[in-house]
């Protein structure tokens, strides 16, 4: 009997001691905020297109950081962004649902534009300029190709054009050897496995 009491007391005492130490430590080493969301946001392409189902990149970043969303919803970011987020979050990579197409840029057919300003309000990055009753113009360098201006346009005068390939923007593709292609495949398999 006595030994049981000793045992209980000793174990309880030690547990209490550990508990108190940990309680104090929680206070001392408390971590503020969620720095992960900022890091996720930094990886996103900031097109603000909403294709992920969230109203912009920051909300999606918050959702991913809070484990509320999968890492594979960013369409314009494509595989590279998905892999980067998956690595940051330490989760398994997932296939990107829709692969983004070539980079696009919006273009307003000015002779058809009625100057309604609806697209200006829709643009998430202020890339369309123009006054009411005047032609609107897309600043091509600012356009993220998010398609959000297409919907509100009452006269369908906005086109999405493929960004032209310029000599200055050309960069070397992967070498054409078999091994080079295999290397890339292995990489993606490895990330996915």
């Amino acid at each position: 009997m006595e030994s049981i009491i000793y045992a209980v007391l000793a174990l309880g005492g030690l547990a209490l001691l550990a508990g108190i130490t940990l309680a104090i430590a929680t206070r001392v080493f408390h971590v503020e905020g969620n720095p992960i969301a900022d890091q996720v946001d930094a990886l996103l392409p900031q097109t603000q297109c909403g294709q992920c189902g969230y109203p912009g990149c920051r909300p999606y970043a918050d959702a991913v950081a809070g484990d509320e969303a999968e890492v594979n919803h960013c369409v314009p970011g494509g595989e590279r962004t998905m892999l980067a987020i998956a690595e940051l979050m330490g989760v398994e990579p997932k296939e990107v649902e829709e692969e983004a197409t070539q980079p696009m840029v919006a273009f307003v057919r000015e002779d058809e534009c009625i100057g309604c300003t609806l697209c200006i309000k829709a643009c998430p990055v202020d890339a369309i300029i123009g006054a009411p009753k005047h032609y609107h113009t897309v600043i091509a360098d600012h356009c993220t190709g998010c398609n959000l201006c297409l919907e509100p346009c009452p006269v369908d005068c906005i086109d999405m054009l493929i960004k032209p390939e310029l000599l200055e923007h050309w960069s070397w593709p992967l070498p054409n050897t078999q091994r080079a292609q295999q290397g890339r495949e292995r990489r993606s398999q490895h990330e996915a496995a």
Binding site: Q46, Q48, G56, V125, H142, L166, S171, W172, T177, R179
Partner: protein
């Protein structure tokens, strides 16, 4: 690390690290420079240098003179483009240029009138030693001179006199370490007096006291010619003994002619990463550039012609030629007896750093050092099956920048570009030594170019995303503000018992 540096110094007889000894194929070493005839149409791309593109100053139908500025430089690092001959502008449109992508860029087409009337960019300055260096430098800028060694960096930028790091040594780069090419060799032999004059001019422009003409020891005739010219100059001008001119013969080893490696070989100092040679007080000029600078200053000639080597194992009559810029390559090859290009690969530049071109339609530009017509089946890529890396380390042995090429290539292949950058991918000078010695035939340089391109792309996307974010946040803030203003106004409206109708309209 210090100990290693000592070791490098001890070993330093050959000057720089790594490097390879190549088959030189200098068939045209003894062929005098000949003039290439003027073609009927000259094609001038609007960007022939590193830096910002030029803006066309002429319109279709305009008549121009040789040396007339037709492309205006935009930005600090840029060089204007001049008409190659007198004639009429017939077209301004996209045309293929010597670029590995095979893409085109806007070019000005000039139909020659055959008279070849010229206009100078300024008065002749035969007594340049009386002139201010800044005046001479401006002349170089106006003449549109870029480095004629292949990279095409605008020359006047290098001639800047910087108080913080005064230039003490001017090196004339007569190394010509690329196989096949011999145009610098011929220039040194045929224009040795002009070279000495040009070196004097450069010394004057940057205020340096030491001038070195660096030549690889496989060109003994050039070394002898330059030595003779310098001795003659010393004998002629008693009063300028303060200047030290010399010819330095260096062992034949590729890439001796790479600017950074040459500077290391001659001065023993390394150009710090991300800096230019001027930061360690050295100016390095190519033989062709020196000649062009001298011509621009003394005669007011714009850069409208250059000397190139036309060679290759598929070319019947290889030659060193003085070619008008803008001459279509097909025309140049025709002068050397090559009309049909079946199974022949054209290389723009030397075989180590030159680019393969898809066809012979592109014009000769400022950066053209040579044109090679090679039998396809002798080229590396034609029988290159990339095998697994056996980590033999030859690539890092021969790397003049002391990189670890196979690991960098591996990271690039796997898409791990950040890691490749950590291994100093951007310090690679793409000399091609590593690919040349690789027993597994791995196209290492290609991987580096791919990696560099992707990294640049990622960076561009990052900065675009950052800008988009800022705009998006501004917009969100603005909308928030508008919303709260609206709400405030509405509550104000509600608080006032019977508001005026007009006020409501405002809201």
């Amino acid at each position: 690390m210090k100990l290693l540096d000592v070791w490098h110094k001890l070993r330093g007889a050959s000057g720089f690290d790594g490097g390879v000894v190549l088959d030189m194929h200098k068939q045209t070493a003894a062929s005098p420079i000949v003039d290439c005839p003027l073609p009927s149409v000259l094609i001038h791309p609007l960007k022939q240098h590193i830096g910002a593109s030029c803006k066309s100053l002429v319109h279709v139908g305009d008549t121009v003179l040789r040396g007339q500025k037709i492309g205006k430089s935009q930005g600090y690092i840029s060089a204007p483009v001049h008409a190659g001959t007198s004639g009429r502008v017939v077209r301004i449109e996209e045309h293929t240029v010597p670029h590995p992508s095979g893409l085109g860029m806007p070019c000005i087409f000039i139909e020659a009138d055959g008279e070849d009337r010229a206009v100078a960019v300024g008065p002749k300055l035969h007594h340049w030693s009386m002139e201010e260096p800044a005046v001479l430098r401006e002349r170089v800028r106006l003449a549109g001179i870029t480095g004629l060694g292949g990279a095409g960096f605008p020359t006047y930028v290098k001639l800047l006199k910087d108080q913080r790091s005064p230039i003490h040594t001017v090196i004339i780069n007569g190394i010509e370490c690329e196989p096949w090419l011999t145009h610098d060799h011929r220039m040194l032999c045929e224009q040795s007096d002009t070279m000495v004059q040009g070196l004097m001019l450069l010394l004057h422009m940057v205020g340096a006291k030491r001038g070195v003409i660096a030549i690889e020891d496989n060109k003994p005739d050039a070394i002898a010619a330059m030595q003779e010219a310098i001795e003659a100059w010393y004998a002629a001008s008693e009063h300028q003994k303060a200047l030290k001119l010399s010819v330095q013969a260096l062992p034949t080893r590729y890439p001796q002619g790479s600017e950074k490696q040459l500077i290391q070989a001659i001065t023993g100092h390394e150009v710090p990463a991300g800096k230019l040679p001027m930061h360690i007080g050295v100016l390095c000029q190519n033989v062709g550039s020196t000649y062009a600078i001298y011509q621009a200053v003394t005669h007011g000639h714009a850069l409208t012609e250059r000397v190139i080597t036309v060679s290759g194992d598929a070319l019947p009559k290889p030659a060193n030629m003085r070619v008008r810029l803008g001459t279509p390559m097909r025309f140049v090859f025709a002068q050397c007896g090559l009309e049909v290009f079946d199974d022949i690969q054209i290389i723009h530049g030397g075989p180590m750093m030159g680019e393969r071109l898809k066809n012979a339609e592109a014009p000769v530009v400022k950066a053209t050092t040579g044109l090679l017509a090679m039998q396809r089946d002798v080229l590396l890529a034609e029988h290159q099956v990339e095998e697994p890396c056996i980590r033999c380390g030859h690539c890092s042995d021969v790397c003049p920048v002391r990189l670890v090429p196979n690991l960098m290539a591996d990271f690039s292949r796997q898409g791990d570009f950040e890691k490749a950058e950590e291994y100093q991918l951007f310090d690679c000078i793409e000399c091609g030594c590593c690919s040349n010695v690789c027993p597994s035939h791995i196209p290492l340089v290609h991987y580096f170019r791919y990696g560099k391109g992707q990294l640049a792309q990622i960076r561009k996307e990052k900065s675009f995303a950052e800008a988009s974010r800022q705009r998006s946040e501004q917009r969100a803030g603005r909308m928030e503000q508008e919303k709260s203003e609206k709400a405030a106004r509405r509550s104000r409206v509600r608080a006032q018992a019977k508001p005026a109708v007009t006020e409501d309209k405002d809201a």
